[in-house]
Symmetry: C2
Subunit: 128 residues, 2 copies
């Protein structure tokens, strides 16, 4: 059963999620530091966005300590998968492989990546 993962994160929400994915659970201060470096926004903005995300169920927080510790509810992998599916619907009428083809043909994937992809293709064939 697929868990619901709610509405897609907006741009700033993704910026915040990326910090949480990269650093792991942390307080507003750490998140703000990164956002401030990236685009100079105010501390209040970060707090507000986190409260919006809390409402949307994109993050949870541990209030038993100070500062409160935020963590992402959904993994990077799952979120990426959802956004990709959405993008696919919006541009390619739902065909994931069209998009993958596009992505591959225009990227410089390493030999390592290529090998990984081959392995996955094999697995997919055996599944059928």
């Amino acid at each position: 059963m697929a868990r619901p993962s709610g509405p897609s994160p907006t741009d700033v929400e993704l910026q915040i999620l990326r910090v949480l994915w990269n650093r792991g659970p942390c307080g507003v201060g750490d998140i703000h530091d990164q956002l401030h470096r990236d685009k100079g926004t105010n501390y209040s903005t970060t707090v507000k966005m986190l409260s919006v995300m809390l409402t949307k169920g994109l993050v949870k927080r541990d209030e038993s300590q100070r500062p409160h510790i935020y963590r992402a509810v959904w993994t990077r992998a799952r979120t990426g998968k959802n956004l990709l599916k959405e993008l696919t619907k919006k541009v390619y009428e739902g065909s994931v492989s069209s998009l993958v083809l596009q992505a591959l043909s225009s990227s410089e994937a390493s030999q390592e990546d290529i090998d990984k992809i081959r392995k996955i293709l094999e697995e997919m064939e055996q599944r059928e």
Copy 2:
């Protein structure tokens, strides 16, 4: 030299572009028909969105005939590529192959797709 392709299309803009990509250049009426079917919006909305997109350089129009004929400035492939790159930056710190791996491992691609992808992988190796 890579052509600039401007700001990324918003959701409704993509809906309109999809119509143009699928049907080819056409008038407001045809575009509106589709949008109206999909979500019941008014004719005025379609006209307005097209004028916004004209300003942003996402579409061009031929005014020498009535109705004016709109066409997408960028191809579906190029737009998809850009959006994918953006998504990749926003979720995966810029690694296209992480995203492709995610996409593949969770999709049901056809045997035909799998073969196509293999072919591309081979081409990529020879390029190096």
